[in-house]
Each structure stands twice: as C-alpha cells, then as structure tokens.
C-alpha cells in the first residue's frame, strides 16, 4: 500500500508541476505576498513590536501557500471524478485507500517545497534562525500539519457532485483568514472583541509556532494548538472524505 500511495503521490506531483493554478497559488502567490507585505508594513511592524515583520510574514505566507495550494489542487478533483479516473483506480487491483493517502502525501510534499522556497526568500530578505539549522528544518515542516488538515476538508468537499463551486466558496472563506491572523499584525492591534478569534483560528497557532522556532520564544504550546487543529479537522472530515470518495468512485461504475 505504501508503494501504491507513493505512486499516486508521484502522479499528483507531476500533474501539479504543470498545472498553472497550483503553481501560482502554492508558490508564486505567497512569494509575492511576502515581498509586498514586507514592503508595505515592514516599517510599521518594526515600530509597533520592535521585531522584524519577516518573523510573522514568512510563516504566514508558508501557511497561505499550503492552504491555497491545497485549494488549487482540489479544483482538479471534480475533473478527475468526471473523467472517470477515480472510478478507474477504484476497480484496479490497488489498495483503495492508497488514492487518499497518496494525495495526502503529495499535499505534504508540495507544502514542504513551497515552505522551503518561501524560507529561502525570507533568508534572502533577512530572516535568521536563532536556534540553528535544526530549527530551520522544523520550521519548514510545521505547515505540513495544517496542510494535512485542510487537505482532508478540501477532499471531503471537492469529491461531491457540486464540488467545484463549494471549493471556490471555501477559498473565499480562507481569504478572510488571510487578513485575520497573527502573522501580518500582532494580535494586539486588532479590536479587542476580535482578538480571541484571531488568536484561535487555525492559521495563527502554526504561525506562532514557526515564529518561535525562528526568532526564539514559546514553541511547544502553539505547536500543540496547531496539532490539535490538524487532528480535529482530520477527525471531523476524514469520514466524510472517505464516504464521498467512495460515492464519487462508484458513481462511474453504474
């Protein structure tokens, strides 16, 4: 099953490399966002918090790359359903879970790649790791957790018959999260009634854990929160994803 999952993951990664939407959303868009936000609020954040805005922006953009890359990849899923590919895999002598696990592997790999690209950009702009290269390795692996959680949600939604429109709406929802997180601005500058939501939404703990790894500071607690989000998303949406996938694959058998 592991070999089959790896094969499926390889297929998806090769596909995504040629898909302009995934390439733009997973790498190009967050890189642009990083540079632009750095130029826009760099001075203001330095004045308000006393630390470089890069320590919040690089994590935020890595998470944005993970989430939007997943959404872009999810947009291709309805086409695979319609073309009969899911059904085809369903009747092949391969482990039936391998399509889903393979997809999650591929998401993890893609997230890591875009996090590495963004971190490299961040280092070029002046990001430094207080705890050496081990922290840097952990830094690029943290967004994988949230990406697995979000990927499960996207799969559960995208395999439905009306998947395409629903994924677009999910994307619109994620744009909201893009503003209200602790990466761009510290939680303190938001209106006080909004602060709990800003701190608890799924992106913020991940961003804080990565900030801690790079700049120094608490890592364990935000990391646990981020992990809790990932586990909660998987636990809630995995059954729906499996059921929806089965329904999508069997829809072509009739």
């Amino acid at each position: 099953m592991i070999r089959q999952s790896a094969l499926e993951a390889g297929r998806l990664l090769r596909r995504w490399r040629r898909d302009p939407i995934v390439a733009v959303q997973a790498v190009l868009f967050p890189t642009f966002l990083l540079v632009i936000y750095k130029l826009l609020i760099g001075k203001a954040v330095l004045a308000v918090t006393g630390s470089d805005s890069l320590y919040g922006l690089v994590p935020m953009c890595a998470v944005v790359g993970a989430i939007f890359g997943t959404l872009g990849a999810g947009l291709a899923l309805p086409a695979e359903r319609e073309s009969g590919l899911l059904t085809r895999l369903w009747v092949q002598p391969v482990h039936r879970a391998s399509a889903l696990t393979g997809r999650l592997f591929a998401e993890a790999a893609r997230t890591t790649v875009s996090a590495v690209v963004l971190t490299a950009f961040g280092v070029a702009l002046g990001l430094r790791f207080a705890h050496g290269w081990i922290a840097a390795v952990a830094f690029v692996l943290v967004p994988v957790m949230i990406s697995i959680g979000v990927a499960t949600v996207v799969i559960a939604i995208a395999v439905r018959a009306d998947g395409r429109a629903m994924v677009t709406w999910l994307g619109a929802g994620c744009v909201v999260l893009l503003f209200f997180n602790t990466g761009v601005a510290p939680a303190g500058v938001f209106p006080s009634w909004l602060q709990p939501a800003v701190q608890l939404q799924p992106m913020s703990p991940t961003i804080e854990a990565m900030r801690g790894l790079a700049e120094g500071g608490p890592v364990l607690w935000p990391l646990l929160q981020a992990g809790a989000w990932a586990i909660a998303l998987v636990a809630v949406f995995a059954p729906a994803a499996v059921r929806g996938y089965r329904a999508a694959a069997e829809a072509g058998c009739r």
């Binding site: 302009p20 939407i21 733009v24 190009l28 868009f29 642009f32 966002l33 632009i36 936000y37 130029l39 826009l40 609020i41 760099g42 001075k43 203001a44 954040v45 308000v48 429109a165 677009t168 709406w169 619109a172 744009v175 909201v176 893009l178 503003f179 209200f180 761009v184 601005a185 500058v189 938001f190 209106p191 909004l194």
Partner: protein, 247 residues
C-alpha cells in the same frame, strides 16, 4: 427585446448562478473589513481616519476583481461553441462585447454601493457636495470600464478559462498593495517611492479620496482623468480588435 438586452440578461442569469454578483458585494465588504480591522491600527494616516483613507482603494480593488471574472467570462464565451454561434447571427460583432461590458457596469455599480455602504457604517463620509459625489462615481465607473475592457481583451486572446484570471491575480496584488491607497508613501521603503507615488492605482485613489473629502487639486484630477481615458481608449481598441479576430 434587442440582442444587447438579451445577451446582458444571459450574462446576468449566469452570474447569479455562479455567484459572481454575490462576490461583487462580498469582495469590497470583506476587503474593507480586512484592511480596516487588521491594518487600521498599524498604519499611520495622520488626521484622517483609516476607513476614510482606505475606502477608495477598496473600491478600486473591487473593480480589479470584477475585471478578473470578466477575463474568465470572455475566455469562456470564446472557447465554447456559443461564441462561434453568436458570430453567425445577424447582429453586429460588437454586441456580445457590449453586453459583457454592460454587465460589468451593473456589477461595478453594485460593488460601489456595497463598499460605500459598509464604509459608511465605519464612519466614512462624503463631504464634498453633489458635484464631487458625481465625479467620484464617474471616476470609479470609468476605471471599472477601462480595466474590464482590458481583461476582456486578455480573456479573448488567451482562450483558456483557468489561466486568464490567474494571470491577473498577481499584477492586481502588486498595484493595490503597493499604492498610497493602503498607506501613505512614507510607509514604504525610499527606493520604492517613485513607483508607489506615480502608479495609476495611487493616482486614482488619491483623487477619489480628495473628492470624498471635498478638496481636490486640478493637477491630480487631470492626471486621473488622463489615466482613465487612456486606459479606456487603449483597452477599448484592443477589446474591439479581439472581437474581429476569427479562428
């Protein structure tokens, strides 16, 4: 019912289904709330409140978003058999284009109303009087038409539904976020200053802000008008040319 009305209604019923009209309302509202709540306390705009400062760029961004979906629609019309079918009908070749643009105008009015309404709740006020208000609306709509014509030409040219709006995503991000619409020019690094000051989004938003506040310089107004008119003429010609191309 004339061809123009029929085709405009067709576009409208399509966008009611794929929720583009809903997006026209939600995009300016969402962007305004995002900018105001997240960046409002971070960016120093002097004596002007941030909602008053930021609304023009929110409107400009809403128009740019509208252009992105226009590119998609133009590409879809060209790719699907429907575009070919239209060219065989006894209607002028520019009627389908005119219908798409009429829809864009309606969409722009809706986005303008939605954005202004939410900003009103946060304390944005038009204090210039009726003439200034009319000019404000005119400039927003002229800008919307200009970028929609450009996007239509691009969508017709590219002929791929998925990549045309993606192509526009990054330029609009650069133009909006690196403009004096979001933050005063002093907030940006010095070497970026010339670009930030003189790019079209900065010029247009500055004039709009002046019109809302009731004082505007003749030079700023002239520059903005020139930008809008130039873009209208250039993109209009391009869009018309694209209609003439046959496969």
């Amino acid at each position: 019912m004339s061809a123009l009305v029929a085709l405009t209604l067709r576009t409208m019923s399509g966008t009611l289904r794929d929720a583009d009209l809903l997006f026209a309302v939600l995009a300016p509202v969402g962007c305004f709330l995002g900018f105001t709540l997240a960046l409002g306390n971070l960016i120093d705009t002097g004596r002007m409140t941030y909602p008053q400062y930021v609304l023009p760029v929110v409107l400009v961004q809403a128009m740019l978003f509208g252009a992105m979906t226009t590119a998609d629609r133009a590409a879809r019309d060209r790719l699907s058999g429907f575009g070919v079918r239209l060219r065989t009908l006894p209607i002028p070749a520019m009627v389908p284009l005119a219908a798409r643009m009429l829809y864009c105008l309606i969409r722009a009015v809706i986005a303008l109303a939605a954005g202004t309404a939410v900003a009103w709740l946060f304390g944005f006020r038009m204090v210039g009087g009726l003439g200034y208000d009319a000019l404000f609306v005119l400039i927003v709509l002229a800008f919307a038409m200009a970028v929609c014509l450009g996007a239509d030409a691009l969508g017709s040219r590219i002929g791929s539904v998925e990549s045309s709006s993606q192509l526009l995503l990054l330029p609009q991000l650069v133009l909006v976020l690196l403009s004096t619409g979001i933050a005063p020019a002093e907030s940006f690094p010095g070497w970026l200053d010339p670009f930030v000051r003189f790019q079209p989004v900065s010029q247009v938003t500055e004039t709009l802000r002046g019109l809302a506040g009731g004082h505007v310089t003749g030079l700023g107004l002239a520059v903005t008008m020139t930008w809008c008119l130039t873009l209208l003429v250039v993109f209009g010609c391009l869009a018309l040319r694209m209609q003439r191309r046959t496969r």
